[in-house]
């Protein structure tokens, strides 16, 4: 009896899947966000959510589940039904940094999730206060080498991707800095702009207003190529710091077992949205380059960055707990 029920429900589920793939979505979709409203991950979810709503006519609800370094939202998404109606908007922190710095992480990227696509990708920039004598990244590193561990660098937090990029730069070049963590990117950049800390390592979106006002000078970018938003700023690779390559991305994810046809539909739709000029313009205002990367490519990128982060964490002995 139990056996027949089992088979029946499997059949029903399969039938349901086929119907779902064609008609998807037939009810509101929710996107979990591991941050309070207002941040860049939340903003990305709202921009994409709004467009999905316009195209599909279904409500897209952005549900903020902040706290616990993202553990709360990501584990909730991992445990949600894999039907495509619960998605997760997450960033570098949840899938690259957390598993590298925390001993116990209640989720696993490969076990629990499939990526849909990268939404947005923004460089991390090394900046200095404009009143400091450092004109280039080389100057900054020389100054750090002259007095190891004394040149202050602000970051949005201990165990943030920015912090890891700083440690990575140290590992590659031997220039040792004084890490000064803040609670988030905005106060960290304000500290460098005001001269409280001479240098900083920030997401381009946080640094941009202060770069434009002339309070801080960007000396290097963490990405492989120069960013179209600030083409004058060299990459770390160009100035000889070859291996350090990182960025802050935002991506859309689904629980692992979501049927492939639904994933395909989601990817197609989101990729179309990301190609829209107004969407591109919104992300560019924050210094980001709009994504649209294929799921497999994105997954490979995440695994590669995680491996890098793990190496840096081990070598620099970064600890979150």
């Amino acid at each position: 009896m139990r056996w027949t029920v089992g088979v029946f429900s499997v059949l029903l589920a399969l039938a349901g899947t086929q119907v779902q793939a064609q008609d998807f979505p037939t009810k509101p979709i929710r996107i979990l966000v591991p941050f309070a409203p207002g941040g860049f991950v939340d903003t990305a979810a709202r921009i994409v959510g709004q467009k999905l709503h316009e195209r599909w006519g279904q409500q897209v609800i952005v549900e903020n589940r902040p706290g616990g370094n993202g553990f709360i939202a990501v584990s909730a998404a991992a445990k949600s039904p894999a039907d495509g109606y619960t998605l997760l908007m997450a960033h570098t922190g949840e899938f690259v940094v957390n598993p590298a710095v925390f001993k116990d992480v209640p989720y696993d990227f490969d076990r629990d999730f499939v990526p849909i696509t990268q939404i947005n990708d923004a460089p991390i920039v090394w900046v200095v206060n404009s009143n400091t004598p450092h004109q280039t990244m080389q100057d900054l590193m020389n100054a750090a080498k002259a007095s190891p561990g004394k040149l202050g660098v602000s970051s949005p937090g201990n165990g943030s991707i920015n912090h890891l990029v700083m440690e990575w730069t140290t590992l590659e070049t031997g220039a040792k800095f004084l890490h000064v963590p803040y609670k988030g990117g905005a106060p960290a950049m304000a500290a460098t702009a005001g001269g409280e800390v001479p240098a900083g390592i920030a997401a381009l979106s946080s640094a941009m207003p202060h770069m434009q006002s002339g309070r801080v000078r960007a000396v290097a970018m963490s990405t492989a190529t120069r960013t179209p938003v600030f083409p004058a700023v060299p990459t770390l690779a160009e100035i000889g710091v070859r291996n350090v390559q990182s960025s802050i991305w935002v991506g859309l994810f689904a629980p692992k077992a979501v049927p492939q046809p639904i994933l395909d539909k989601l990817y197609g739709e989101v990729a179309t949205i990301l190609a829209m000029p107004d969407v591109k313009a919104r992300f560019a205002a924050g210094g980001g380059v709009t994504g649209g990367m294929k799921p497999a490519e994105f997954a490979a990128k995440i695994r590669r960055e995680y491996a890098d982060a793990k190496k840096v964490v081990a070598a620099a002995n970064v600890k979150a707990e």
Partner: protein, 500 residues
């Protein structure tokens, strides 16, 4: 006259019919959610965010800003009527406001809160209009050591908040500091005292603690009285508006509160938060009959209300000119601008003058709306107290639960609410007041963060705390305040000993 042409530009934007409507909608909604215990501006702004996608950036910001300062107005209503502070800034308003309500003077308390808020809002908006760029520079010059010493001053002031025993007040501050240690340490990233619960990684929920210890504990206490103390409340409503004497008494309190709030609001690292506490402390210290404070002194409502509203307006300075939010609502407004493709920062003023000046002008209009909205409403709110308690208290409980839940969409926060309601009730029975505890909880983590950052940057040299003139001034002021608290006590002790 640059400023005049700028203001003309601003009013040109703000006075368009559409923007007037959205401004009114914002402040009206803000007042409403401010009055509902527990439902805060953060949840409201988050819910309305999608609405702003299709609005002009200036219109969107005018509405969101209206919700923010409207909620400051409305929040004092709940603090006065049912002893529930929706935000840390209205904690102080509960002290004398709720006592006034118990004495049948809810009307004057609400009236003076509205008037003080209006005066403060109007003045602070002028400050924003005249001095934004230079003030942003000052905010940037404020170093970690200065912040730390400001917090020390605030914490010493917390003791003055207490109505009764000084010893108990100190104990409460310390308990608050200890509770404030829960969560992630900013410097090392270590997670402390969370017992493996992810929801505690960012610390104890302030709203859950404030609702629990003030609101729900008070509900339990009232139910225990079986209507005895509630009768006092409902039978005598008293006059609805503050008398001429009240106004005269409060004039300077409002002025001092406004000045203090306007100055502290500029500091994004916790200034606006401190302003109402600091204003209350100062009033109590310089008052001729400080004994009335805590027992329904109208100045104890006027000064902090003025301070928190002035602070709410001037905290737009760091937000708009530096992109640094001083609270979660501000962070959301930054998010709203980002969605519009505007990165808040110093360039907003030069590249988008219509946005900046439009918001500034709308604040004046908004404050006027709020006064017009709130003064006539005072009578209505007061009548709310006449609602039978058996109907009122379940409503309070439901709203508190909804409010606490909507902040993080997390059930664990409700458990925190229950736990702090229990603790609050026990403390109420012991005659320990929750206000100093709350200040300890809020200031403790910031104090630690700033002290450690100051020492980190100075490479471990503690002299940085006294070499900065600002920091030294705050520390001296804190020492002075401490002495002025301690001396009468010591004298009293000695006199007691002499008698024997």
């Amino acid at each position: 006259m640059d400023i005049l042409s700028n203001l003309a530009l601003g009013f040109g934007v703000a006075i368009s019919l559409k923007n007037l409507l959205y401004c009114f909608f914002g402040v009206f909604l803000g007042t409403l959610i401010g009055v509902l215990p527990g439902i805060g501006p953060v949840a409201t702004v988050a819910m309305l965010l999608p609405l702003t996608f299709n609005l002009d950036p200036a219109t969107a910001m005018i509405m969101l800003a209206g919700i923010y300062y409207g909620a400051q107005y409305g929040g004092s209503t709940t603090a006065i009527l049912v002893n529930i502070p929706g935000e840390s800034s209205s904690v102080v308003t509960t002290l004398d406001g709720y006592q006034m309500a118990r004495q049948g003077r809810a009307g004057p308390a609400l009236g003076i809160a509205a008037i003080a808020s209006f005066v403060a809002g109007t003045f602070a908006t002028l400050v924003v209009a005249l001095f934004s760029p230079p003030l942003a520079e000052i905010a940037l010059k404020f170093q970690p050591a200065d912040y730390f010493s400001l917090m020390v001053f605030g914490l010493v002031g917390a003791v003055v908040l207490a109505r009764g025993s000084l010893r108990k007040a100190i104990a409460m501050v310390v308990l608050g500091l200890l509770l404030g240690l829960v969560g992630t340490d900013v410097n090392s990233g270590a997670i402390r005292f969370t017992f493996g619960i992810p929801a505690l990684a960012e610390g104890i929920s302030f709203v859950a603690l404030a609702m629990g210890m003030f609101g729900i504990a008070e509900v339990i206490y009232n139910l225990e009285q079986r209507g005895k103390s509630r009768e006092v409340f409902t039978s005598r409503l008293g006059s609805v508006l503050p008398s001429r004497d009240d106004l005269k008494l409060c004039l300077w309190s409002i002025a001092r509160g406004t000045g203090l709030g306007a100055v502290l609001g500029i500091l994004p690292g916790g200034g606006a938060l401190l302003s109402s506490f600091a204003a209350y402390t100062i009033e109590k210290k310089i008052a001729k009959a400080p004994r009335n404070f805590g027992d329904g002194d109208i100045r104890g409502v006027a000064a902090p209300e003025a301070a928190n509203n002035a602070g709410a307006q001037t905290s737009f300075i760091p937000m708009l000119t530096l992109g640094v939010p001083s609270n979660p609502t501000m962070a959301l407004m930054i998010g709203a601008l980002t969605i519009q493709g505007i990165q808040p920062g110093p360039q907003v003023l030069s590249q988008r003058p219509e946005l900046f000046w439009g918001i500034v002008a709308s604040m004046w209009i908004g404050n006027l709306f709020l006064l017009a909205l709130n003064l006539p409403l005072v009578g209505l709110w007061v009548r709310l107290l006449a609602v039978p308690y058996r109907l009122l208290f379940p409503a309070i409980l439901v709203f508190c639960c909804i409010g606490v839940f909507t902040i993080n969409n997390n059930v664990f926060d409700l458990f925190q609410l229950v736990a702090f309601a229990g603790l609050g009730y026990v403390l109420l029975k012991l005659g320990c007041e929750p206000a100093p505890l709350i200040l300890g909880l809020v200031l403790g983590p910031m104090m630690e963060e700033y002290l450690r950052r100051a020492l980190l940057i100075s490479l471990g040299d503690p002299m940085v705390l006294v070499t900065s003139p600002l920091s030294l001034a705050f520390l001296l002021a804190a020492a002075g305040l401490l002495i002025s608290i301690a001396v009468p006590l010591i004298r009293a002790k000695r006199e007691e000993a002499m008698k024997e």
